[in-house]
C-alpha cells in the first residue's frame, strides 16, 4: 500500500468527494485519478466513507426554529441604545431645570409679597424715622428709640390700622423711604401701642430704653 507522490493531487481528493472544488480543478484532479492507481484507490475509499455517513438523521426544522430565542427588531442592532439613553438623560435634566426654575419663581413671588410696603411697615430696625416723619409727641421720651436715633419730638397718638402683633414681630426688611404716609402713621401707632403696653405696670418712667420684648422677658 503506497501513497501517491503528487501531494497536491492527493490533498485535493477529499474535496472532490465533498464536492467543494470548482469545475476546472475538479477536472484536473479527476484526470490525475484516471492515471494514478494509488489515488484511484484512495478516492474509492473516500467515496465509501462518505456514502457510509451520508445518511442524515432526521431533524425537525420547524421544532428547532420554534425553540430559537426570539428577537425584537429594536434590540437587534444595539446602535440606538446609547443615543436613547442620552436623550432620556437630557429630557430628565430639562424637566429638573423646569421644576427648579418654577419653584424658584414661586418662592421669589412669595418673598416679594411678604415684603410688600404694607407689611414692611413693621420693618423698623435700623430705620431712622425722623427723617421722613414730622415730630410727634412721645409718651415716654427715649423709650422707643428706633434704629440709630431716638425720636426726639413728642408724638401724638395716632389711631393705628389693625396690624397683627405677629406681623409686627416678623418685620425684618424694607426702608422707610419706601413707606407712604399712611404706612408710617401705622408704624408709629404700633410703636405707641407697644410703649403703652410697656408702661402699664409702672407709673414711673423707665430712664433706659427697653424694647417691649425684653421687658416682658424680665417679668
Amino acid at each position: 500500500m503506497f501513497d501517491c507522490a503528487n501531494v497536491e493531487m492527493r490533498e485535493l481528493l477529499p474535496d472532490v468527494v465533498a464536492g467543494t472544488l470548482d469545475a476546472t480543478t475538479r477536472a484536473r484532479v479527476e484526470q490525475h485519478i484516471a492515471s494514478c492507481a494509488e489515488c484511484a484507490s484512495e478516492y474509492e475509499t473516500l467515496r465509501l466513507v462518505r456514502s457510509a455517513y451520508a445518511s442524515t438523521p432526521a431533524v425537525d426544522v420547524r421544532r428547532i426554529v420554534g425553540a430559537l430565542p426570539k428577537v425584537t427588531p429594536t434590540s437587534s442592532s444595539g446602535r440606538g441604545k446609547p443615543m436613547k439613553r442620552w436623550i432620556d438623560w437630557r429630557v430628565a435634566a430639562a424637566l429638573t431645570m423646569i421644576s427648579v426654575g418654577g419653584l424658584s419663581l414661586a418662592v421669589a413671588r412669595r418673598w416679594s409679597a411678604d415684603v410688600s410696603p404694607r407689611d414692611s411697615v413693621t420693618a423698623v430696625s435700623s430705620v431712622d424715622t425722623t427723617a421722613a416723619q414730622p415730630p410727634r409727641a412721645a409718651p415716654t421720651e427715649g423709650r422707643t428709640s428706633v434704629g440709630n436715633g431716638a425720636r426726639q419730638a413728642p408724638v401724638r397718638p395716632v389711631p393705628a390700622p389693625p396690624i397683627s402683633p405677629s406681623k409686627a414681630q416678623l418685620a425684618f426688611a424694607g426702608g422707610v423711604d419706601d413707606l407712604d404716609d399712611a404706612s408710617i402713621k401705622a408704624l408709629l401707632g404700633v410703636l405707641d401701642d407697644m410703649d403703652r403696653a410697656a408702661l402699664a405696670p409702672s407709673e414711673e418712667p423707665d430712664p433706659t430704653p427697653v424694647l417691649p420684648v425684653i421687658r416682658s422677658g424680665e417679668r
Partner: protein, 184 residues
C-alpha cells in the same frame, strides 16, 4: 456544503442572520434548514447515536442566543460545528460523571449496538464504518469533517481548537489507518 443549502434562498449566512435579527423568522428557518443536516451528520460522526435531533436543536439555540459573538472570521457552519462539538463533549462529560465508569473513547469505540447498521445495507459501507469507528476520537473528527463536510484544514483547526498542521497530520494518519483496516 452547498448541496445542503436551500435552493430557493441564495442569501448568504450573514444576510440571513441580519434578517433574523431584524425580526424575520423565515431567515431563521432558512439558516436551520441550511445547516441542520450537516450538524446532524457531524453529531453522528462524533459518536452521538441518540438524541441527534436534540443536540442539533441545542446547538442552534446556543448559537442564536450568542449570535453577537459570531465575528464572521470563519464560516457560520464552522462556528456551528465548534458549538456542537463543545455541546456533545459537555454532554459526554456529564454522562461520564453520572456513570463514572465509562471513558469517552469507550463510548466512541465500535460496539455491538449500532442503530445506523440498519440504515447501511451494503457490506462495504459497514466495513468502512467500523474502520472509521476504530480511529481515535480526534482522528475521526478530523477525517469526517474533511471527507464528509469538505472543511479545509484551517476550518477543522478552528472547530477543534487546534492547528492547521495538526489537523493535516490527523487526517493522513486516519486515512492510513482506514486503508489498512480495509485492505490489509
Amino acid at each position: 456544503m452547498a448541496q445542503d443549502h436551500e435552493p430557493n434562498d441564495d442569501s448568504t449566512d450573514l444576510e440571513l442572520i441580519a434578517r433574523w435579527r431584524a425580526g424575520d423568522e423565515r431567515a431563521a428557518t432558512s439558516l436551520v434548514a441550511r445547516h441542520a443536516p450537516a450538524l446532524a451528520r457531524f453529531a453522528v460522526s462524533l459518536g452521538q447515536r441518540l438524541d441527534v435531533d436534540e443536540v442539533v436543536q441545542d446547538t442552534f439555540v446556543r448559537a442564536f442566543g450568542s449570535i453577537d459573538s459570531f465575528r464572521a472570521d470563519s464560516s457560520l457552519r464552522t462556528w456551528l460545528f465548534t458549538i456542537e462539538r463543545r455541546l456533545i463533549l459537555d454532554r459526554r462529560r456529564a454522562a461520564r460523571r453520572r456513570r463514572d465508569d465509562t471513558s469517552v473513547d469507550d463510548i466512541d469505540a465500535a460496539t455491538e449496538f449500532n442503530p445506523l447498521d440498519e440504515m447501511v445495507a451494503e457490506e462495504a459501507q459497514s466495513r468502512v464504518r467500523k474502520a472509521v469507528e476504530r480511529l481515535s476520537r480526534l482522528q475521526r473528527e478530523v477525517f469526517l469533517l474533511r471527507v464528509n463536510e469538505g472543511l479545509s484544514y484551517k476550518e477543522i483547526a478552528e472547530v477543534l481548537g487546534s492547528t492547521e498542521g495538526a489537523a493535516r497530520v490527523h487526517y493522513h494518519n486516519a486515512m492510513r489507518a482506514v486503508k489498512e483496516s480495509l485492505y490489509v
